[in-house]
Symmetry: C2
């Protein structure tokens, strides 16, 4: 429906076209509907043609990750390390939010892609440039975890729209069985709408966590923290 068609005369494929078509297709139909077959069809080509450009599906996914990672801004310079890192990570977050499937794919890689390594190396470099020791930076990166990529592991995968009265019933049942969950869910729902699984401001939560961590890192840095001190 996008390209293909006009059989017979079609631009030659290459790795880049394949990768970008895959990203676009995943954006449109979701990652679970992206198969070698559907991608081939999208490109007006037979499935096996793709294997001339990517070794297999895993490598296709690797390549797609690197396309997205390439969208992350380079580090700003001239700012203090804390806000520079913060900005960079929020940029990563913006890139990943444009492609909702990307975080799951990144997590599923069995080895980091070259683009991912570039990005990680440069983030580490930002901490080092800020004066943090290699030792502290190591632990800092671990503590950041998937947050360097701009996403948080979601505990509640945001159930899609259900009709309001079913939700009301569910709410009553939930409140009986999971009083605390319902309470803290309600804590963030100002207007009356949809108490369960909604009304969560993801961006706020992300910045809350990242600032808590960055402040913690800064505190440790200032007091000259070393892993050797910890028994």
């Amino acid at each position: 429906m996008a390209q293909q068609a006009d059989a017979g005369q079609r631009a030659r494929l290459n790795r880049d076209r394949v990768l970008h078509a895959a990203v676009a297709l995943a954006d449109r139909v979701g990652i679970e509907a992206l198969s070698m077959r559907s991608l081939a069809q999208e490109l007006g080509v037979v499935p096996m043609a793709l294997y001339k450009h990517v070794a297999n599906k895993e490598q296709l996914l690797d390549g797609m990750v690197d396309v997205i990672v390439g969208e992350i801004d380079s580090p700003a310079h001239g700012a203090d390390w804390k806000s520079a890192v913060r900005e960079r990570i929020l940029s990563a977050r913006r890139a990943l939010l444009r492609h909702p499937w990307a975080s799951r794919v990144i997590e599923s890689r069995s080895a980091p892609t070259p683009g991912a390594l570039d990005y990680l190396d440069s983030v580490i470099g930002m901490f080092r440039a800020g004066g943090l020791s290699a030792d502290l930076t190591h632990h800092v990166m671990h503590a950041l975890g998937s947050r360097v990529w701009g996403f948080t592991q979601e505990l509640f995968p945001a159930s899609p729209n259900v009709d309001p009265d079913a939700q009301a019933v569910m709410f009553r049942e939930m409140a009986a069985r999971y009083p605390y969950i319902v309470e803290i869910a309600a804590a963030r729902t100002h207007d009356g709408e949809s108490v369960v699984n909604q009304g969560c401001d993801d961006q706020f939560e992300f910045e809350f966590a990242i600032d808590l961590l960055l402040d913690g890192f800064e505190r440790l840095h200032r007091q000259g923290w070393t892993s050797a001190d910890q028994s």
Copy 2:
């Protein structure tokens, strides 16, 4: 090779036996080798027989999650909230470490299982009992993310054993291209062995992060933090 065999006379199946056999099989052969077919064979039964006990594979995985979640200790009482939460989460961690596939399966669920909700509700209850506001607790749970389950998103999936000289070559290449990564990897490698992707003490990293977060939570709690304060 474990049960089955002695055809003809075989204990009746039920949901629980299916679930526990699935957990044991995943422990033994890995989650990616767990199929409805392999599980059926393990139980000495035809694949379709399983569908009398679980609706489909997703529900099988849900059930497996709840088996593991059931292994998490109940909250200790009598301790302050911080160390009580800490202990509980480390118990979750121990349970998940016994079943290395479990974290990936938990992440892949599209809706939380009942057992997961029970656990989350009770962890939230621990913060509330410690006096944290529902508001703060909400954000705290988000900041914890998958860490409530006792795992951190691994950035480097721990490449398995490769021979030492290949590693030495790789090291030289890595050092040129990713100087900072190699530097912080080395920061934690005291003895000379395997600089790349090894020598990381997961348990240390986990506790570093969890304590950083818990300390941050405590600080906010003491100073009466409220999300309303944040612009």
